[in-house]
């Protein structure tokens, strides 16, 4: 029966650099194609409210009359459904995951 089967692996890893990074001092590498923070190109938005109606978590609030587009960052689950349904294609999920939110206020564009 083999004893201490892991010795080779442990010895090898003793001389390697750690795989962990010292976040937040060293930011995480952005993975292309990752679903991160939702961005809106507000100049192209026509305030049709489709994204607002479709969002499964009701994170969006689009005001047609006052032309305001608001998002509750804490509610958004970065699912990308709004990005798919937007007729003007002015929504985009960036690979970046943004900074931690400290308030519960909605972000207005």
């Amino acid at each position: 029966m083999a004893f201490f089967q892991m010795k080779k692996m442990i010895l090898a890893w003793t001389f390697r650099k750690p795989v962990t990074t010292s976040y937040p001092f060293e930011p995480r590498k952005i993975c292309p194609g990752s679903r991160g923070r939702l961005d809106v190109k507000i100049s192209e938005c026509i305030f049709c409210t489709i994204c607002d109606k479709r969002c499964p978590t009701q994170a969006l609030d689009v005001d047609k009359v006052n032309k305001k587009w608001r998002i509750d960052r804490l509610r958004c689950i970065s699912c990308g459904y709004c990005v798919e349904v937007c007729p003007k294609k002015c929504l985009l999920l960036t690979g970046d995951h943004g900074i931690p939110t400290v308030t519960k206020e909605m972000e207005t564009f």
Partner: protein, 359 residues
């Protein structure tokens, strides 16, 4: 005869970050009986389904479990597609197969790590999770999410894997496979690991069947049953043989999962070689009317979804029987008569996912 004591195990317990509660009736160091109770994190999905649109409910289904999330979404979508008689494109079926197997690899690696942690092998735990991280990177690059893939939708897949991505994925898988061999070697051959697992918590073949065990718990007891044999997604066109062992003990369950890691890598390779070009989704029109039982093999075993719609955009009935729920009776059987010190290991060998059990 010694004095009987009841020791509560969980819902908060250092070995298991999941809220299962078991009352252990102990005599000296032996467990005489185990009484499980669940219900600490009930989420009321059955009510929620009446409020959510059936297309949106995929997002909820995916969040039933944080580990086998993709397969939950897939099970739900397959059920709806069956009710609505949708034939999804072949490419989408292959994509689902590839992502499902990637999620099996990451789930099994997670389990191996937790298992090592349960028997006190910290460095093995860290190394298992280091390899799992590489699998998560593959998943993130192809689907956009790390544990919640969000790439399955009613009618097909939400994203495609480009040929370049596929080549890269296969290359990375080779690296991962090499690393997995090193880790699996420790689990299978190290004497201290074997000392903790061999002969502990034996479930006979007859017991496994009569208590309704599923997944690796069932296959480790000599029953080669796997839902992938139902040929859902692309499994009908791939070469697949379920893995089973005859020991029925913790070591057997560990061995089944270790072997499934490499089987999944093989299935991904086969799927990548055969994947046809074409559309990845069909347009969904109308609403589901009818009922269906959807059965899919998760990393933990068979999951059963009952879905019923009445022609409106909200479903009327939805129920999920998750694999952990089916594996609780075998667990109770294993715990009776075991040593108190083996309880954490035994609870972990069924790969409990209590959050999905309670829905």
């Amino acid at each position: 005869m010694g004095q009987r004591t009841i020791i509560p195990f969980g819902p908060q317990h250092p070995v298991l970050p999941e809220p299962i509660h078991i009352d252990l009736v102990v005599e000296d160091e032996k467990v005489i009986e185990a009484v499980p109770s669940i219900g600490f994190i009930h989420r009321g999905l059955e009510r929620l389904v009446e409020k959510k649109d059936f297309v949106e409910f995929v997002y909820v289904a995916e969040r039933i479990c944080g580990i086998c999330s993709f397969i939950h979404g897939q099970t739900y979508c397959q059920g709806i597609e069956e009710i609505m008689k949708l034939e999804i494109p072949s490419r989408a079926k292959y994509l689902r197969t590839i992502w499902g197997e990637l999620s099996r690899i990451h789930s099994h690696l997670l389990w191996l790590g937790l298992m090592a942690d349960a028997f006190g092998f910290e460095s093995l735990f860290m190394h298992s999770w280091r390899v799992r991280e590489q699998v998560l990177d593959l998943i993130e690059a192809t689907t956009g999410g790390r544990v919640i893939f969000g790439s399955c939708k009613v009618g097909g897949a939400r994203r495609d894997i480009t040929p370049e991505q596929m080549t890269w994925l296969l290359k990375q898988l080779e690296v991962v496979e090499k690393e997995m061999h090193l880790i699996v070697d420790v689990f299978m051959n190290d004497s201290s690991v074997k000392h903790r697992l061999c002969g502990v918590g034996v479930i006979s073949k007859a017991d496994a069947i009569s208590l309704g065990a599923v997944g690796p718990t069932l296959r480790a007891s000599g029953v080669a049953d796997d839902m992938r044999l139902l040929k859902y997604a692309a499994f009908g066109e791939l070469d697949f043989e379920p893995i089973s062992r005859t020991e029925g003990d913790s070591y057997g369950r560990c061995a089944v999962r270790c072997a499934e890691l490499f089987q999944s890598v093989d299935l991904i390779r086969q799927a990548a070689a055969k994947i046809p070009a074409g559309e990845i989704a069909v347009k969904v029109t109308g609403t589901p009317s009818g009922e269906f039982f959807s059965r899919v093999e998760q990393p933990r075993g068979e999951v059963v979804y009952y879905i019923k719609g009445n022609g409106t955009k909200n479903l009327t009935r939805f129920r999920a029987r998750t694999p952990t729920f089916a594996n609780v009776p075998p667990l109770v059987k294993m715990l009776g008569g075991c040593e108190l010190a083996d309880v954490p290991v035994l609870v972990l060998t069924i790969d409990p996912c209590i959050s999905c059990t309670e829905r």
